[in-house]
Symmetry: C2
C-alpha cells in the first residue's frame, strides 16, 4: 500500500461467515465464531498490523459491522440476534438472502451494552479514532417477521422499519459520540433516511458495475455531500469484480480492468459548492474476499489498486489512459522488484530494472535519440511497451534495450544515467 | 496437471509477440525474436519440461503457429513474411487487427524449406509425434493487398484467398506427412474450406463465451467428426476469460466460473454415429497469457482446470454441480497441501488436511452420526462446506470439526479413521 501512496487500511474484520477478531472483552465471539481456533486475529496480530502500517504512514480503520452481517455472533451471543419467522414458525431463513439469525435484535438492551463495551475495546486497541460501523444490508423483513418486535413497535408507536433503523443507529452513534470516535457507515443506513450526526462519514458503494439497477454513484456523492455529510467513494473500484478483456482505441489496446478503474473521475458530475466538495474525503478500492485468499490476494489487488491510487492522487486533468498504462506497467515492474507479485496489465515483460528519465532531467535527454530514434508514431502496431517511448516527455530504458540496440553511440552517457538513477535500480528496502 | 489427470500439455511456444523457442537449426529466430536474450526456452529447458512431464504421464505437444502469428519471425527472416499494402504503400498495418508483417508469404519457396527443416528439428526434440501447426487467424486481406501475390494468383489461376490457404496448408501438411507426424490445427483452416488429410486433428475453439456471434461449438463438433476428422474441443474452457460472480440455485450459491466450466457436456448436442463420436478425442482447457505470467498463473489455472478435468474424465451422468463444488473444494485443498496455490472456489477455509470417507468404507460409516447428526437439509442457509455433508454418500471430516464438535462420542473411531487415511493426510511427494 505504501508503495502506492494508499494511506488508509479499512479492515473489515468480522462478517457473517466468521468472527476472527479476538476480543479480550468477549473472547467467546472468536472462540465460537471463527472458522477454527487457528483462523483468528490475536491481540498481538492486530498490534503488529497497526504498527507495520504506522511505520508506512498508513492508518488502520477497523469495521465492526452491525446490525446485519452478524451471523457469526450467534453461537456466543444468541440473545443478541433476531429470530426470523415465516409461516408461523421461528428460525426461518430466506435462502441466498439472509440466514435465520443474522441480524441484531434492536429491541434487546444487551445489544447496546455489548456494543458499548466492544467499541470501547476497539477504540483502545486501534489508535486511529475512526470506527467503521457497517450498517449495510440490514434485511428488515426479518425484523418485521418477529412477533416480539412487532408488538414492541405497536407499544412504541413505531410504524415502519425506518423507525427500527433509526432506533438502532441512534443508540450506536451515541456510543461512538460518548467515546469520541468518528463513525463511518456504508450508505445503506442513509438510504433508509436515518438522520445521522453531522460529521458522520458515509461510504458510497452502490451503483458498482455489478448492478446497473442502482442509481448513479455521482448522484449519491452530490446528495450526501450537500446534506453536510463527509463522503468516501468506493462504487467504481470493486477490485474483486474481475473481468476479462481489452479496451480498443484507435491507437492502443488497453487492459479493460485498468481502463475502467483509471477512467473514473470522482467529481465529474459534482454540482455542489466548494465547501461541499471538500466533504468528499477520498476514495477506496475494495477487495472482498468471497473468492480471494492468500493464494491470489496480491496478484489480484496489484496493480489494479495502483491505478486507483494514481487516479485519486492526480488532478482531474491527468487523464490520459494511454500514457498511464505504460506508467502503471513500469510501476508494476517496480512492485515486482520489491517482492509484490503484481499481475501484468500489458503484454511484454519486465527487465530486471528500468531507468525512467523525465524531460526535467535535461542533461540526459540526449540519450534519447541515439537509443531510440524517433518515438513510435501514434498508429504504430503492436506497441510493446519496452519498444516505444510512452510519451514525448518520458523515456524508458531497460537494460536489454541497451544490450540489443546497435544504435547506442555513447556508453558514457548510459553509464552516467545508470549512476544517476541507482536509487531507482536498487530501491532502499523497508524493514 | 498430473494431480488432475490432465495428460497432454499443449505448449504454444511461439507467437507474434515473441519467439522464445531456441531452435538449433535457426538460432537467429529466438536471438532476434524473443523479448530478451533471457526470455528463451533453451534446448535444455525444453528437454527438462518434456522429461518432467513424461515422469507424470504427460505428453508434450508443441505448437509452431503459422502462417499467421509470425510477427516475431520478421527480424530473423523478413523474406518469409508478407508485406501488407494499403493506399498504394507497402508495410501498412491495420491497427488492432494485424501487423504490417505478421503473415507468412505463401508464394515464397523459402517458407517451405524453412518449415521443413524446423519441423524436422521439432519432431526430433519432442517425442510425442504430434505437432500443432496453428493455422489460426490468418488475415488474408494482407495477402490480397500484396501486388506480388496478386500477380501470382493470376499466373496460377487462383481466384480467391481459399486457394492461398489451400496452397499453404497442402505444403505444410505434406511436410508432416513426410516426417510421419500427426498434425493438429485450429479450426480456422477448416472453416476456410481447406480439405485436410484424413486423421488431421481439428481443435474447435470458436463460440467461446467471448464472442456469441460465432456459431455453436456443438455444431462444429458434429460437422468435423462427421466429415471424418479427429476433434479436440476447447471452446467452452478458455480459463483466461475470467469473470466474477455467483450462480444461485434454490439450494446453493455456486462460484460462477466453476459452474460454467463444469456444466459443459461436450456430447450433449452430438448427433453423429458411434464411429464419429469416437473421433472426438477429448477436450482442452486453454489459458492464454495476455494478462498472465508467473505472478498469477497457478492461482488462475487451478482449480478451474480441475473442474474441466473432472468433467472430461466423468460419465455424462456425473453432472451434479452442487455435489461437485464440494468435491472440487476438497480437491483444491489437496492441491494447496501439495504446494499448488489453487485459488478458492467457495467461502470457507482449508484445514491442514481432511479425511474423506466414502460409503464403500462401511466400517467407518458409523462415524457419521455421532459427528454430524443429520446431513444439512436441502434448504440450509449459509452452507459452509466444512459444516455440512456434501451428499448422502460422502462425509468430510476436518480436524477442527473434531476439536470443536462436542458431540463426538468415540475418539477411537476417529483415531482409526485417521490411521486408515494417513496416505490422504500426507500424500507421497513426487520427485
Amino acid at each position: 500500500m505504501s508503495y502506492n501512496k494508499l494511506n488508509v487500511f479499512h479492515w473489515h474484520i468480522v462478517d457473517d461467515q466468521s468472527f476472527p477478531f479476538q476480543s479480550t472483552t468477549f473472547p467467546n465471539l472468536s472462540r465460537t465464531g471463527a472458522f477454527t481456533p487457528d483462523h483468528v486475529y490475536t491481540p498481538a496480530d492486530v498490534s503488529d498490523v497497526i504498527e507495520h502500517a504506522r511505520l508506512r504512514g498508513i492508518r488502520v480503520i477497523p469495521e465492526i459491522d452491525t446490525p446485519g452481517h452478524t451471523y457469526s455472533w450467534r453461537k456466543a451471543m444468541p440473545e443478541l440476534i433476531t429470530v426470523c419467522w415465516a409461516n408461523g414458525k421461528p428460525n426461518q431463513a430466506i435462502y441466498g438472502t439472509q440466514g435465520e439469525m443474522e441480524i441484531f435484535n434492536p429491541i434487546e438492551p444487551r445489544v447496546y451494552s455489548t456494543m458499548d463495551s466492544l467499541l470501547r475495546e476497539v477504540k483502545s486497541r486501534f489508535p486511529s479514532n475512526f470506527i467503521h460501523l457497517g450498517m449495510d444490508e440490514v434485511y428488515d423483513k426479518c425484523w418485521l417477521s418477529n412477533p416480539d418486535i412487532k408488538q414492541w413497535m405497536i407499544d412504541n408507536n413505531i410504524n415502519s422499519s425506518v423507525g427500527l433503523h433509526t432506533f438502532y443507529a441512534d443508540r450506536i452513534l451515541n456510543i461512538t459520540r460518548n467515546i469520541d470516535v468518528t463513525p463511518i457507515v456504508w450508505q445503506d443506513v442513509w438510504d433508509e433516511k436515518v438522520e445521522l450526526p453531522p460529521g458522520t462519514i458515509i461510504q458510497v458503494w452502490k451503483d458498482s458495475s455489478d448492478n446497473s439497477a442502482f442509481g448513479s454513484w455521482a448522484a449519491y456523492l452530490n446528495q450526501a455531500a450537500n446534506e453536510g455529510y463527509n463522503v468516501i467513494l468506493s462504487s467504481p473500484w470493486y477490485i474483486n469484480y474481475i473481468s476479462y478483456g481489452k479496451y480498443n482505441t484507435n491507437t492502443s489496446v488497453m487492459n479493460l480492468e485498468f481502463f475502467k478503474y483509471y477512467e473514473v473521475e470522482p467529481l465529474r458530475g459534482f454540482t455542489g459548492s466548494d465547501e461541499a466538495k471538500k466533504r468528499i474525503l477520498g476514495g477506496e478500492a475494495c477487495l472482498w474476499a468471497e473468492f480471494v485468499d492468500g493464494t491470489n490476494l496480491l496478484a489480484r489487488l496489484w496493480p489494479k489498486a495502483s491505478a486507483v491510487a494514481e487516479r485519486l492522487w492526480s488532478a482531474a486533468s491527468v487523464n490520459n489512459s494511454e500514457d498511464a498504462q505504460f506508467r502503471l506497467d513500469v510501476h508494476r515492474c517496480r512492485l515486482l522488484r520489491r517482492g509484490i507479485p503484481a499481475q501484468p496489465i500489458l503484454n511484454g515483460y519486465c527487465g530486471n530494472y528500468e531507468v525512467v528519465i523525465t524531460s526535467s532531467d535535461i542533461e540526459f535527454l540526449a540519450v534519447r535519440l541515439p537509443l531510440k530514434g524517433q518515438p513510435s508514431p501514434p498508429n504504430a502496431v503492436w506497441p510493446h511497451p519496452q519498444q516505444m517511448t510512452a510519451s514525448n516527455d518520458v523515456l524508458y530504458i531497460r537494460p536489454h534495450d541497451l544490450k540489443i540496440d546497435s544504435n547506442i553511440r555513447s556508453c558514457d552517457i548510459i553509464a552516467k544515467a545508470i549512476q544517476r538513477y541507482e536509487p531507482i535500480f536498487f530501491p532502499p528496502k523497508l524493514a
